[in-house]
């Protein structure tokens, strides 16, 4: 396991920022298109993209859970506020914090198991996808 470089938080900011920028441009030129909310599913998808990118760039890393969760919270809440999304607010901060911490923990647990296989490089993407599907099923219970 490599030393913690906080890379996932940098990647999370970039991935979420890119998504929000697409949303801003979309709302500017197609104002009446209904865009998906930055809900649990969207937050999970964005977190998973950042985690997969981190894995391919620098492998599995140690975590500083407290600091990284705080940064994840600030990323989701702060960036959606900066983008001026109408549903941004306290909810986005809370959802962002819970989703980032839970998804990172679950993804890291899966990656630990993958470490023992030989084709782990290819297995990371389907693992993340299955985790996303599991989240959708979980949300469907409510």
């Amino acid at each position: 396991m490599k030393k913690n470089t906080m890379l996932v938080n940098t990647l999370l900011a970039v991935v979420l920022g890119a998504g929000l920028m697409v949303g801003i441009v979309w709302r500017t030129f197609m104002p009446y298109v209904v865009l998906p909310e930055l809900d649990v599913n969207a937050c999970v998808a964005i977190t998973l993209i950042a985690l997969v990118l981190e894995y391919y760039i620098s492998g599995k890393q140690e975590r500083n859970w407290a600091v990284q969760t705080i940064l994840g919270t600030v990323t989701f809440g702060g960036l959606s506020l900066a983008a001026g999304f109408p549903y941004a607010g306290v909810k986005t901060f809370i959802v962002g914090a819970v989703v980032f911490a839970a998804t990172t923990f679950l993804f890291d647990s899966m990656v630990c198991r993958l470490e023992v296989t030989t084709d782990k490089k290819c297995a990371v993407i389907p693992s993340a996808f299955v985790l996303f599907l599991a989240c959708q099923c979980f949300m469907g219970m409510f």
Partner: protein, 179 residues
């Protein structure tokens, strides 16, 4: 040694500044496009009218109404009702005689594959055309499959828009959840 916290914090700040700047730079264009799209939509919702003027209304007594535009032969009303997963907002064209001439779902966050079908399900939305505030799920409106709450919310929003024009009282039929 470089502090490992600097890079992610810097990334968050830079991305936030870029987003804020991008939004500010595009806000003028966005407002212009909203105006153009709204006029185009209102012309389609209320055939026969070409100019629309915003009209003042009493928000206290018309809690379901968000905005009102008066055309030559009727009104286009932005009305809202609580669905399954938040407010559903509609633009409803209502003639001076109190008949629905057109409607479109403006915003919603209903369940994908169920209530969200109200966005695009033409047969469902077409049921409200020419109704006069008497639309009722189970009577003259068939609900979307698996989305009764969303269907009732759309019905409530449409009836509220008609009631604004006719002056009818819809408070007795209103419930907390989806009409």
């Amino acid at each position: 040694m470089k502090n490992k916290y600097v890079t992610p914090i810097l990334a968050i700040v830079i991305v936030a500044v870029v987003l804020f700047g991008g939004k500010a730079a595009l806000s003028g264009t966005a407002e212009k496009n909203v105006e153009i799209a709204r006029n185009k939509m209102m012309t389609a919702l209320l055939p026969g009218s070409t100019t629309f003027a915003p009209e003042e209304f009493d928000a206290a007594t018309n809690s379901a109404i968000k905005s009102v535009y008066k055309g030559e032969n009727g009104y286009v009303i932005e009305s809202t009702a609580y669905g399954y997963n938040g407010d559903i907002t509609l633009m409803v064209g209502v003639s001076n005689e109190g008949q629905v001439t057109g409607l479109v779902v403006e915003n919603m966050q209903e369940t994908r594959g169920l209530g969200a079908d109200a966005l695009t399900d033409v047969p469902f939305l077409a049921q409200f055309l020419l109704t006069g505030g008497d639309a009722e799920v189970g009577s003259n409106v068939d609900a979307l499959t698996g989305a009764t709450v969303s269907s009732k919310a759309v019905t409530k929003a449409v009836n509220s828009a008609v009631a604004y024009v006719t002056g009818a009282d819809t408070s007795s039929s209103a419930t907390e959840w989806g009409g």
